[in-house]
Subunit: 204 residues, 2 copies
């Protein structure tokens, strides 16, 4: 009988500010959630074998349980809840280019062609690519002088071949192009088709 | 026999830019990882019952498996890997106040007093609180005109009672104080001691 179980459980205790971040987020997005008290200070419950085995091997709160999937670390929990709820999400340059993935999909892999869909996304790209280009004219990386996960995220679709887009992003937007060269020069960088299996695509 | 298993597995396919974000991050941080090919385009593998049950109920890649714990959504995976590796982390105002938690712990809950530790953290707070205050003088919320998870994260330790810190953050730093009032006015806001169990603390 799981029917009375709320959508989210949060393993927490009142004195933990890290736990409070997630508790507050759950409340702000109006989630269906309940706290589960973990007695860290008095009973040292988070360090017990039982807690480590069943809840979080790192022996820490908060732990967010969503239908049995467990997340630790408040930043991870906040990102997860923001993505799922669509609330309190930061708007970034990353988001600006979110239509790059769907556009490439429609153009190359969709079961049926959708010229209207492609035109819509291409129009949005025509607005957002210059915004990102302008941003990257100001600093070498999105958040300043060193690369962060914001850059890794932005890299998602940019290295796929120009023919999959029908235009050359690096050529048309020189600051994006220069940023792409900088990311490419990081130790460990590889092209998506080198890094992940499944290329070339073999259709059945 | 799990000894040959790498630390991370990434369920992915070469054509997915969302998967590439995580694959690239794993490579950039020098992680011990291997890709597991998921055949979305040809076999529709991510939509099968088996994949949904065993890997990701949302039927999507990427899925990051760390010692059996599974994470989906590229932003969640990137945040997790940045936290664990300490690499590619954004430096934020949030980070500026990271010593607030340890300071409050030492002052109130630590088993043995540590005046040197307290003094060190208090000195760092004396530098970082004005930085955050200055930042919040420029815009109502950390990233601009609306609250995001950056604000939720910053809220972690700020609402605990002034006596637990020995100083009144809101009074001493008026822009932080005004921001605290704005966050407090959001529907769903509650104080940590109202939102989570375990207060007042009952020592055994």
């Amino acid at each position: 009988m799981m029917s009375d179980r709320p959508e989210y459980l949060l393993y927490c205790m009142a004195q933990s500010g890290n736990a409070y971040r997630v508790a507050l987020m759950l409340n702000l997005i109006g989630a269906d959630w309940k706290p589960v008290f973990v007695d860290f200070f008095v009973a040292g419950e988070t360090r017990t074998e039982k807690f480590r085995t069943e809840i979080n091997e790192m022996g820490e709160v908060p732990v967010l349980d969503h239908a049995g999937r467990k997340f630790s670390q408040s930043a991870v929990c906040l990102t997860y809840l923001a993505k799922r709820s669509g609330k309190f999400q930061p708007e970034g340059e990353d988001e600006e280019l979110e239509c790059l993935g769907p556009y490439r999909f429609l153009k190359n892999f969709a079961p049926a062609p959708s010229p209207a869909g492609e035109a819509f996304l291409l129009n949005r790209l025509g607005i957002s690519l210059p915004i990102v280009d302008k941003r990257l004219a100001k600093s070498p990386y999105l958040l300043g002088s060193r690369p962060t996960i914001a850059d890794v995220s932005l890299a998602g679709y940019l290295y796929y071949p120009a023919e999959e887009f029908g235009f050359d992003i690096a050529k048309d937007h020189p600051h994006i192009g220069a940023w792409m060269d900088r990311i490419k020069a990081l130790p460990g960088w590889k092209h998506p088709y080198e890094l992940m299996p499944g290329y070339p695509l073999k259709r059945a």
